[in-house]
Protein backbone atom coordinates (compact mmCIF):
# COMPACT_ATOMS: atom_id res chain seq x y z
CA UNK A 1 0.00 0.00 0.00
CA UNK A 2 1.37 3.35 -1.03
CA UNK A 3 0.71 6.06 1.56
CA UNK A 4 0.52 9.85 1.61
CA UNK A 5 1.70 11.56 4.79
CA UNK A 6 1.44 15.14 6.02
CA UNK A 7 4.12 16.38 8.45
CA UNK A 8 3.28 19.60 10.30
CA UNK A 9 6.25 21.06 12.16
CA UNK A 10 7.88 24.49 12.27
CA UNK A 11 11.33 22.89 12.24
CA UNK A 12 12.60 21.99 8.75
CA UNK A 13 15.19 19.73 10.38
CA UNK A 14 12.54 17.81 12.33
CA UNK A 15 10.37 17.44 9.23
CA UNK A 16 13.34 15.89 7.40
CA UNK A 17 14.15 13.64 10.37
CA UNK A 18 10.55 12.43 10.49
CA UNK A 19 10.42 11.85 6.74
CA UNK A 20 13.69 9.87 6.91
CA UNK A 21 12.28 7.85 9.81
CA UNK A 22 9.15 7.05 7.80
CA UNK A 23 11.24 5.94 4.84
CA UNK A 24 13.33 3.71 7.11
CA UNK A 25 10.23 2.21 8.69
CA UNK A 26 9.48 0.30 5.52
CA UNK A 27 6.55 2.42 4.39
CA UNK A 28 5.90 2.73 0.68
CA UNK A 29 5.65 6.51 0.61
CA UNK A 30 3.76 7.88 -2.36
CA UNK A 31 4.14 11.46 -1.17
CA UNK A 32 5.16 13.39 1.95
CA UNK A 33 3.65 16.85 2.32
CA UNK A 34 5.35 19.40 4.59
CA UNK A 35 3.68 22.24 6.49
CA UNK A 36 5.41 24.73 8.83
CA UNK A 37 2.45 25.39 11.15
CA UNK A 38 -1.19 24.56 11.72
CA UNK A 39 -2.43 27.08 9.16
CA UNK A 40 -0.26 25.56 6.42
CA UNK A 41 -1.37 22.12 7.59
CA UNK A 42 -5.04 23.02 7.16
CA UNK A 43 -4.31 24.42 3.70
CA UNK A 44 -2.61 21.13 2.76
CA UNK A 45 -5.63 19.17 3.99
CA UNK A 46 -8.00 21.36 1.98
CA UNK A 47 -5.87 20.97 -1.13
CA UNK A 48 -5.75 17.20 -0.69
CA UNK A 49 -9.55 17.15 -0.42
CA UNK A 50 -9.98 19.38 -3.48
CA UNK A 51 -7.65 17.24 -5.56
CA UNK A 52 -9.19 14.04 -4.22
CA UNK A 53 -5.77 12.89 -3.03
CA UNK A 54 -6.56 11.48 0.40
CA UNK A 55 -3.95 11.33 3.14
CA UNK A 56 -3.21 8.24 5.19
CA UNK A 57 -1.34 9.71 8.16
CA UNK A 58 -0.65 13.08 9.79
CA UNK A 59 2.33 13.77 12.08
CA UNK A 60 1.93 17.07 13.91
CA UNK A 61 4.18 19.00 16.29
CA UNK A 62 2.49 20.48 19.36
CA UNK A 63 4.43 23.74 19.79
CA UNK A 64 4.40 25.89 16.67
CA UNK A 65 4.06 29.58 15.92
CA UNK A 66 1.00 30.91 13.98
CA UNK A 67 -1.18 27.91 14.89
CA UNK A 68 -0.14 25.16 17.31
CA UNK A 69 -0.85 21.46 16.99
CA UNK A 70 -3.86 21.38 19.29
CA UNK A 71 -5.59 24.22 17.45
CA UNK A 72 -4.76 22.53 14.14
CA UNK A 73 -6.41 19.34 15.35
CA UNK A 74 -9.53 21.13 16.62
CA UNK A 75 -9.88 23.22 13.43
CA UNK A 76 -9.35 20.15 11.26
CA UNK A 77 -12.25 18.47 13.01
CA UNK A 78 -14.43 21.57 12.91
CA UNK A 79 -13.98 21.76 9.13
CA UNK A 80 -14.31 17.97 8.79
CA UNK A 81 -11.00 17.75 6.95
CA UNK A 82 -9.34 14.34 6.51
CA UNK A 83 -11.89 12.56 8.72
CA UNK A 84 -10.65 9.26 10.06
CA UNK A 85 -7.04 9.91 9.10
CA UNK A 86 -4.82 9.08 12.10
CA UNK A 87 -3.06 12.05 13.70
CA UNK A 88 0.08 11.55 15.81
CA UNK A 89 1.23 14.44 17.97
CA UNK A 90 5.00 15.00 18.27
CA UNK A 91 6.33 16.78 21.34
CA UNK A 92 9.53 17.47 23.24
CA UNK A 93 7.49 18.17 26.35
CA UNK A 94 5.75 14.98 27.42
CA UNK A 95 4.24 16.72 30.46
CA UNK A 96 2.56 19.44 28.39
CA UNK A 97 -1.17 19.49 29.19
CA UNK A 98 -1.79 20.29 25.52
CA UNK A 99 -0.67 16.76 24.65
CA UNK A 100 -3.40 15.27 26.84
CA UNK A 101 -5.87 17.78 25.39
CA UNK A 102 -4.89 16.68 21.88
CA UNK A 103 -5.48 13.01 22.73
CA UNK A 104 -8.82 13.93 24.27
CA UNK A 105 -9.64 15.85 21.10
CA UNK A 106 -9.03 12.82 18.92
CA UNK A 107 -5.30 12.45 18.29
CA UNK A 108 -4.49 8.78 17.76
CA UNK A 109 -1.11 8.78 19.45
CA UNK A 110 1.81 10.78 20.75
CA UNK A 111 5.55 10.50 20.19
CA UNK A 112 7.99 12.18 22.56
CA UNK A 113 11.24 13.68 21.31
CA UNK A 114 13.89 12.37 21.40
CA UNK A 115 12.61 9.26 19.64
CA UNK A 116 14.16 6.19 18.03
CA UNK A 117 13.45 5.01 14.49
CA UNK A 118 11.86 1.94 16.07
CA UNK A 119 9.41 4.14 17.99
CA UNK A 120 8.26 5.77 14.75
CA UNK A 121 8.01 2.38 13.03
CA UNK A 122 5.97 0.84 15.86
CA UNK A 123 3.61 3.80 15.98
CA UNK A 124 3.05 3.87 12.22
CA UNK A 125 2.51 0.11 12.03
CA UNK A 126 -0.14 0.33 14.71
CA UNK A 127 -2.08 2.96 12.78
CA UNK A 128 -1.80 1.88 9.16
CA UNK A 129 -3.01 -1.35 7.51
CA UNK A 130 -0.31 -4.02 7.26
CA UNK A 131 1.75 -3.96 4.08
CA UNK A 132 1.00 -6.89 1.76
CA UNK A 133 4.09 -8.68 0.42
CA UNK A 134 4.86 -7.78 -3.20
CA UNK A 135 3.77 -10.32 -5.87
CA UNK A 136 7.38 -11.26 -6.69
CA UNK A 137 8.06 -12.16 -3.07
CA UNK A 138 4.94 -14.32 -3.00
CA UNK A 139 6.11 -16.07 -6.16
CA UNK A 140 9.56 -16.63 -4.73
CA UNK A 141 8.03 -18.39 -1.76
CA UNK A 142 6.36 -20.96 -3.94
CA UNK A 143 8.22 -24.22 -4.66
Amino acid sequence: MSVRVLIVDDSVVMRRILENALRHSGLDLAEVLHAANGMEGLAALEQSATENQPLDLILCDVHMPEMNGLDFLLEKQLRNLAPGVPVVMITADATDPQVLDAVAAGAHGTISKPFTLQRIKTCVESLLPPVAPPPSAMGDAQP
Binding site: D10, S11, V12, V13, M14, R16, I17, N20, H63, M64, P65, T91, A92, D93, A94, T95, D96, P97, S112, K113, P114, F115, T116
Partner: protein
Protein backbone atom coordinates in the same frame (compact mmCIF):
# COMPACT_ATOMS: atom_id res chain seq x y z
CA UNK B 1 17.66 34.15 47.01
CA UNK B 2 20.50 31.84 46.13
CA UNK B 3 22.82 33.50 43.66
CA UNK B 4 25.67 32.08 41.64
CA UNK B 5 26.47 28.65 40.29
CA UNK B 6 24.67 25.53 41.43
CA UNK B 7 26.73 23.05 43.43
CA UNK B 8 23.98 20.46 43.98
CA UNK B 9 25.24 17.40 42.10
CA UNK B 10 21.70 16.07 41.72
CA UNK B 11 20.69 19.00 39.52
CA UNK B 12 23.87 18.71 37.50
CA UNK B 13 23.50 14.95 37.02
CA UNK B 14 19.91 15.48 35.93
CA UNK B 15 20.99 17.90 33.21
CA UNK B 16 23.87 15.66 32.10
CA UNK B 17 21.44 12.74 31.88
CA UNK B 18 18.97 14.65 29.75
CA UNK B 19 21.67 15.83 27.33
CA UNK B 20 23.13 12.31 27.08
CA UNK B 21 19.68 10.83 26.42
CA UNK B 22 18.96 13.25 23.58
CA UNK B 23 22.21 12.36 21.80
CA UNK B 24 21.98 8.63 22.51
CA UNK B 25 18.33 8.20 21.54
CA UNK B 26 18.04 10.65 18.67
CA UNK B 27 21.49 10.36 17.10
CA UNK B 28 22.85 7.12 18.61
CA UNK B 29 26.01 9.06 19.41
CA UNK B 30 27.72 10.01 22.63
CA UNK B 31 28.20 13.43 24.12
CA UNK B 32 30.71 13.84 26.94
CA UNK B 33 31.02 16.43 29.67
CA UNK B 34 34.24 18.45 29.27
CA UNK B 35 35.91 21.26 31.13
CA UNK B 36 34.46 24.72 30.53
CA UNK B 37 37.32 26.90 29.33
CA UNK B 38 37.61 30.54 28.35
CA UNK B 39 38.37 29.40 24.81
CA UNK B 40 35.03 27.61 24.66
CA UNK B 41 33.15 30.73 25.68
CA UNK B 42 35.02 32.86 23.15
CA UNK B 43 34.02 30.63 20.24
CA UNK B 44 30.25 31.02 20.60
CA UNK B 45 28.49 31.84 17.32
CA UNK B 46 24.89 30.68 17.81
CA UNK B 47 22.71 30.96 20.91
CA UNK B 48 19.33 29.27 21.36
CA UNK B 49 17.06 30.21 24.26
CA UNK B 50 13.85 28.65 25.60
CA UNK B 51 11.90 30.04 28.52
CA UNK B 52 9.86 27.94 30.90
CA UNK B 53 7.07 29.88 32.55
CA UNK B 54 4.05 29.21 34.72
CA UNK B 55 4.24 27.16 37.90
CA UNK B 56 8.00 27.41 37.56
CA UNK B 57 10.21 29.92 35.77
CA UNK B 58 13.46 28.96 34.15
CA UNK B 59 15.64 29.54 31.13
CA UNK B 60 17.50 27.01 29.00
CA UNK B 61 20.35 28.43 26.93
CA UNK B 62 22.44 26.55 24.36
CA UNK B 63 25.63 28.13 23.01
CA UNK B 64 27.31 26.69 19.93
CA UNK B 65 30.43 27.43 17.93
CA UNK B 66 29.67 27.25 14.20
CA UNK B 67 31.80 24.12 13.76
CA UNK B 68 29.87 22.16 16.41
CA UNK B 69 26.56 23.41 15.02
CA UNK B 70 27.55 22.15 11.58
CA UNK B 71 28.42 18.71 12.99
CA UNK B 72 25.11 18.55 14.84
CA UNK B 73 23.20 19.39 11.67
CA UNK B 74 25.14 16.71 9.77
CA UNK B 75 24.18 14.20 12.46
CA UNK B 76 20.50 15.17 12.51
CA UNK B 77 20.16 15.00 8.74
CA UNK B 78 22.35 11.95 8.25
CA UNK B 79 24.67 13.50 5.69
CA UNK B 80 27.35 16.14 5.32
CA UNK B 81 26.61 19.26 3.33
CA UNK B 82 27.24 22.98 3.17
CA UNK B 83 24.03 23.71 5.08
CA UNK B 84 22.44 27.14 5.00
CA UNK B 85 22.69 29.13 8.24
CA UNK B 86 18.90 28.97 8.70
CA UNK B 87 18.97 25.16 8.69
CA UNK B 88 21.87 25.04 11.15
CA UNK B 89 20.03 27.45 13.47
CA UNK B 90 16.91 25.31 13.12
CA UNK B 91 18.90 22.25 14.25
CA UNK B 92 20.21 24.09 17.33
CA UNK B 93 16.69 25.26 18.15
CA UNK B 94 15.38 21.71 17.89
CA UNK B 95 18.14 20.42 20.18
CA UNK B 96 17.33 23.19 22.67
CA UNK B 97 13.68 22.16 22.49
CA UNK B 98 14.47 18.54 23.30
CA UNK B 99 16.85 19.38 26.15
CA UNK B 100 14.44 21.89 27.71
CA UNK B 101 11.52 19.49 27.29
CA UNK B 102 13.48 16.58 28.72
CA UNK B 103 14.63 18.61 31.68
CA UNK B 104 11.09 19.83 32.34
CA UNK B 105 9.81 16.24 32.23
CA UNK B 106 12.53 15.21 34.66
CA UNK B 107 11.19 17.73 37.16
CA UNK B 108 7.96 15.73 37.31
CA UNK B 109 4.54 16.96 38.32
CA UNK B 110 5.95 20.21 39.70
CA UNK B 111 6.69 21.43 36.20
CA UNK B 112 3.70 20.07 34.32
CA UNK B 113 1.75 23.30 34.76
CA UNK B 114 4.49 25.30 33.08
CA UNK B 115 4.86 25.98 29.39
CA UNK B 116 7.90 26.06 27.11
CA UNK B 117 8.42 28.90 24.66
CA UNK B 118 9.48 28.24 21.09
CA UNK B 119 13.28 28.54 20.70
CA UNK B 120 14.69 32.01 20.08
CA UNK B 121 17.90 31.94 18.04
CA UNK B 122 20.55 34.65 18.12
CA UNK B 123 23.77 35.10 16.20
CA UNK B 124 24.67 38.34 17.89
CA UNK B 125 28.15 38.60 19.35
CA UNK B 126 26.60 39.68 22.63
CA UNK B 127 23.27 37.83 22.83
CA UNK B 128 20.85 38.42 25.67
CA UNK B 129 21.83 35.73 28.14
CA UNK B 130 20.07 37.34 31.07
CA UNK B 131 17.59 34.95 32.67
CA UNK B 132 14.15 36.06 33.88
CA UNK B 133 14.04 38.02 37.13
CA UNK B 134 14.45 35.91 40.22
CA UNK B 135 16.36 33.08 38.57
CA UNK B 136 19.09 32.71 41.14
CA UNK B 137 20.08 29.08 40.69
CA UNK B 138 22.36 28.69 37.70
CA UNK B 139 24.09 25.78 36.04
CA UNK B 140 26.49 25.86 33.11
CA UNK B 141 27.83 22.67 31.60
CA UNK B 142 30.11 22.18 28.63
CA UNK B 143 29.83 19.07 26.46
CA UNK B 144 31.80 17.67 23.56
CA UNK B 145 30.11 16.24 20.49
CA UNK B 146 32.43 14.73 17.87
CA UNK B 147 35.32 16.51 19.62
CA UNK B 148 33.64 19.92 19.33
CA UNK B 149 32.30 21.82 22.36
CA UNK B 150 28.97 23.41 23.17
CA UNK B 151 27.42 24.62 26.42
CA UNK B 152 24.05 24.29 28.11
CA UNK B 153 23.03 26.75 30.83
CA UNK B 154 19.99 26.57 33.07
CA UNK B 155 18.74 29.41 35.25
CA UNK B 156 15.99 28.54 37.69
CA UNK B 157 13.80 30.60 39.93
CA UNK B 158 14.38 30.27 43.64
CA UNK B 159 11.11 28.59 44.64
CA UNK B 160 11.88 25.53 42.50
CA UNK B 161 15.16 25.16 44.22
CA UNK B 162 13.37 25.10 47.59
CA UNK B 163 10.69 22.67 46.41
CA UNK B 164 13.28 20.19 45.22
CA UNK B 165 15.77 20.45 48.04
CA UNK B 166 16.57 17.14 49.67
CA UNK B 167 14.98 16.66 53.08
CA UNK B 168 16.97 16.87 56.32
Amino acid sequence: MMAGPCTDTRWIEQLDGVVADVFNIMLRQSCEVVEDTAATAAEIDIVAKILLSGAIDAQCLLEFPQATAKKLTDAFLGSQDDWEDALIEDAIGELCNMIAGGWKSALGATASASGLSVPAISRARAPDRNPPNGCGLRMRRTYSFRNSPFTVSLAIREHIEKMNQPGP
